[in-house]
């Protein structure tokens, strides 16, 4: 039997199977996409801002369970917040929700959505 628990927490498995924020976001006002060059994971994050406040978020991409769960949690964390606060979300905040013991080599799966968020809020390339 595969030692899966060491790799994927229940939260990751749940968010992978039934992500809450996956899908195109019509009327997005800030969009960015990036790739993790180490594994090829790709995430595109879409935000709708009302003034400085993020009022909706969505993501699409081609990414593993960890990265998908991370993007989903990130989307949940930033909706309703001002951009400045969203920018302050850190890897630790995501890990706290994911409740997983991520190996150092997979940390970039967690952090890719964060860097895409930063790009989107900086008006980075769609």
């Amino acid at each position: 039997m595969i030692a899966t628990r060491a790799l994927y927490s229940d939260v990751i498995r749940e968010r992978w199977r039934r992500p809450r924020f996956r899908g195109e976001l019509p009327g997005a006002t800030a969009v960015a996409e990036d790739v993790n060059p180490l594994c090829g994971d790709r995430v595109r994050l879409m935000l709708r801002l009302d003034g400085v406040r993020i009022v909706a978020a969505g993501f699409v991409g081609d990414s593993c369970a960890i990265c998908t769960a991370s993007a989903d949690v990130l989307a949940e964390l930033v909706v309703g917040r001002p951009a400045a606060e969203a920018r302050a979300v850190a890897a630790g905040d995501l890990l706290a929700v994911l409740q997983a013991d991520i190996r150092p080599t997979r940390m970039r799966c967690v952090t890719l959505p964060l860097s895409v968020l930063a790009q989107a809020l900086n008006g980075g390339g769609a």
Binding site: I2, A3, T4, A6, L7, Y8, C64, A65, T68
Partner: protein
Amino acid sequence: MRLHEITRGDFPVLGRVVNGHPLVYLDSAASSQKPRTVIEAMSQYYARSHANVHRSIHTLGEEATELYEGARDRVQRFIGAQSREEVVLTRGTTDGLNLLADALCAGLAPGDEVLITEMEHHSNIIPWQLAARRQRLALRAVPVTGSGLLDLDALDRLLSARTRVVAFTHVSNVLGTINPVAEVCARARRAGAVTVVDGAQAAPHLALDMSLLGCDFYVFSPHKMLGPTGIGVLWGRRERLEALEPTRGGGEMIKEVWLDRAQWNDLPWRFEPGTPPIAEAVGLTAAVEYLEKLGMDRVGEHERALTRQALAGLAALPGVRVFGPPASVSRGAVVAFAVEGLHPHDVAALLDAEGIAVRAGHHCAMPLMHRLGVVGTARASFSVFNAPDEIDHLVRTVADLRSVL
């Protein structure tokens, strides 16, 4: 004795324990492991004979030059080239394809056509895209059939008097398809086109004979065939190489230089500017020696048996999709597969937790992924040191995967 029983002890890395399990390395198509003789040949070279090659009159320089040029001779025999001058040592398949795309397209006219295929690796796509943009050429691709073969009827329709180059892979790194090189080259030649074959996935597994293949250029990467990183091979039919203007300059590729002009050196040095990969050439010789001692026929047989075993085992699993031609067709030593409900990266990560190394992703063949309608696949690939029980272990572990995520 099966081949792995002879070879396993020769590969130091197979002693590795990964996540508490003995390493099962099924990623040789990306880069193979190295036998001890290859590793030690390079260490010995550095410890005893290193110097720069060519134009050196001291003992170490002469030794290094003989070793470097000896690799060329060894490769010549290994691939059945007519002469050593036809063997250019490059930095890899990608490097060779860039060299060829630059040099072959430099003289083409706007509207001339380059033909590739839908199953190419990015290394056999982008260099032609860059050349096409520079020279305003048309770049077209031969489609792949539903069963993963080159569509030869479409090839005939695409070939025309404007076709100048046909560049295609010998063996697909995703589908495992072995393309009919001689057949494609004959048709291309009738259309007046130069042929370039990407042999990256063929050279490690098939006995090669340049006189039978019928192509004009053939490139491959020693690091995928038990040899070192940092070196490549480009074979060119002599008259084709002679007609090619070098597009890269530097030391060693010239006979005489003035500030405003230069006279090229003879073949093959004309295409080897700068200090070449010397220790890597020594490792290449050792890799070829190792493969020749096993015998390429036997190597191919062993890997085909493993491939059949993996194909049959994986295809029988519920929720597992296997890509490429049916097992009845002779295939290269790769099996790409998908597990329903799992991202390929997770398939790889979960297998890695059991010590099994497979690759996952688009395998640098995005156009083929688009054609297959997937974002990526997992891929197991095999070499001389893989054992049947490793394939069993792979199949058993994949069977468990769907329950864990």
